[in-house]
């Protein structure tokens, strides 16, 4: 096998192993997976409009803006993020307080901005 073929093999096999490891989580088999909740922001609503979290349990929120820049604000959970237009952000949150909260878009996004919110329950 020539050096070039060896190189090609390395660039074919190694990424495959890496991808497989990422997909299966095999790179850190002992670490518990952080649950992910996908949220979409689009004028003038979040989808889903209600999520439920568990007190003391960390969860990753993956928020995507489908149109303009939105805010993602909930003071009791220390959430204060900007979601740039068309982009996705991720934020980990560990609720410390049980209750039902109203999360709002606090980046002015248009006429009905004041009604853009979602309910966050913490059990």
């Amino acid at each position: 096998m020539t050096r070039t073929k060896l190189f090609r093999l390395a660039f074919t096999v190694v990424p495959c192993f890496c991808s497989l490891a990422l997909l299966t989580g095999a790179s850190s088999p002992s670490a518990p997976e952080m649950p992910v909740i996908d949220i979409t922001a689009k004028r003038f609503a979040f989808a889903p409009d209600k999520i439920t979290l568990t007190k003391g349990k960390t969860v990753k929120l993956r928020i995507h803006s489908e149109d303009v820049t939105h805010g993602f604000f909930l003071r009791p959970l220390k959430l204060d993020e900007e979601i740039p237009a068309g982009q996705t952000i991720e934020v980990a949150v560990t609720p410390q307080e049980a209750g039902t909260f109203t999360l709002i878009c606090d980046h002015f996004c248009g006429a009905n901005h004041g009604n853009m919110n979602m309910t966050v329950g913490v059990e």
């Binding site: 820049t69 805010g71 604000f73 909930l74 003071r75 204060d80 900007e82 039902t100 909260f101 109203t102 999360l103 709002i104 606090d106 980046h107 002015f108 248009g110 006429a111 901005h113 004041g114 009604n115 919110n117 309910t119």
Partner: protein, 332 residues
């Protein structure tokens, strides 16, 4: 340094017309010591004699708004203009605390709404009208169109011994003032003694009134750290479409009602905010008159201001304006 009587500075009395709030200021009537010296200096530099005066706060006309909570359009704003012109005591100033217009992404339409606001404003027989933007005026374009039509989004001026500061907490799209404006604010106020009478007017509350309804300013604590150094400072704001009073340290905060529709008392209401439903039998309900009177030196445990509310449809005033109205009518 002499101690100066608080009541020497800012006496507030007036009528909230639902349309807003009329304030009377008597800044120099009894000023002594440091404050007296300051007033004299200010008077000499501005050329203005320090005399009592009144002003009106208006807020949230949302010109161009077309939605279910209020089918009246600009009628309340127009009624407000009429009522101000009928006040027994002509105010020196109008302070408009934001949301002059309702937002639209069509620039030409927004220009028309701003022109319509200016046309109605011109009917008010008051020589000076000052504005700050609301998020519906300036939140979508960073305040570009507002600046073209109304000028700076933050500034200050002096009037008869009172220093007025217009603060902008909307043009950054988020509810915040920002570091640049905060630096300007510190510099602007640095020349004043701590006893100077100061009125700050802005759109959103500078304290956490109801953050989940976006009734707050995220860097409001930083702003209040600057403002709380002053003993006689009043903050006037809008945004919440209802009257409200709040105190942080020595600073008093007053919200004016809107000219379009009302929001409910946030206390005891959970979940998202919803407007008070329109009452066709009482179209100006919740847009009534509020009178505010300063009672002199505040006593421990008592409020320094007394408040009186009268509906927008009222033809007669109460409080100081009522007395003045009676006196004027008795001369006829």
């Amino acid at each position: 340094m002499k101690q100066t009587d608080r009541r020497s500075f800012l006496k507030i009395a007036g009528s909230s017309l639902g349309i807003g709030v009329l304030y009377s200021a008597y800044p120099a009537a009894h000023a002594t010591g440091e404050a007296g010296d300051f007033f004299n200096t200010l008077g000499q530099s501005s050329g203005e004699k320090l005399t009592p005066f009144s002003f009106v706060q208006l807020s949230d006309a949302h010109v161009g708004f077309n939605g279910p909570p209020d089918p009246l359009g600009t009628k309340a704003f127009e009624r407000a203009a009429e009522m101000i012109n009928g006040l027994p005591q002509r105010p020196d100033l109008i302070l408009f605390t934001g949301d002059l217009t309702h937002d639209t992404e069509d620039r030409d339409v927004h220009v028309q709404r701003m022109k319509q606001f200016q046309e109605i404003s011109k009917r008010i027989n008051v020589p000076v009208i000052k504005h700050v933007p609301g998020e519906h005026d300036a939140g979508l374009d960073g305040g570009a169109l507002y600046r073209e039509m109304f000028g700076d989004t933050y500034y200050s001026f002096d009037h008869r011994g009172v220093h007025f500061v217009a603060l902008d907490n909307v043009t950054r799209a988020k509810p915040e003032v920002g570091a640049e404006q905060l630096t300007w604010l510190k510099k602007d106020l640095a020349r004043f003694p701590k006893t100077a009478p100061i009125v700050v007017f802005t759109h959103r509350p500078l304290f956490d009134l109801r953050p989940d309804w976006e009734w707050f300013t995220s860097d409001g604590d930083d702003v209040m750290n600057v403002l709380s150094a002053y003993d006689n400072l009043t903050v006037l704001y809008g945004h919440i479409h209802r009257d409200d009073e709040h105190q942080t340290g020595s600073v008093h905060h007053y919200a004016a009602r809107s000219l379009i529709f009302a929001f409910p008392d946030p206390n005891g209401v959970s979940g998202p905010r919803k407007p008070v439903p329109f009452d066709k039998d009482h179209p100006f309900k919740n847009l009534g008159i509020r009178t505010v009177a300063f009672n002199g030196m505040p006593q421990p445990g008592s409020a320094p201001l007394s408040i009186d509310d009268i509906e927008l449809t009222a033809r007669e005033f109460r409080g100081i304006n009522g007395v003045q109205q009676l006196l004027r009518n008795s001369k006829v």
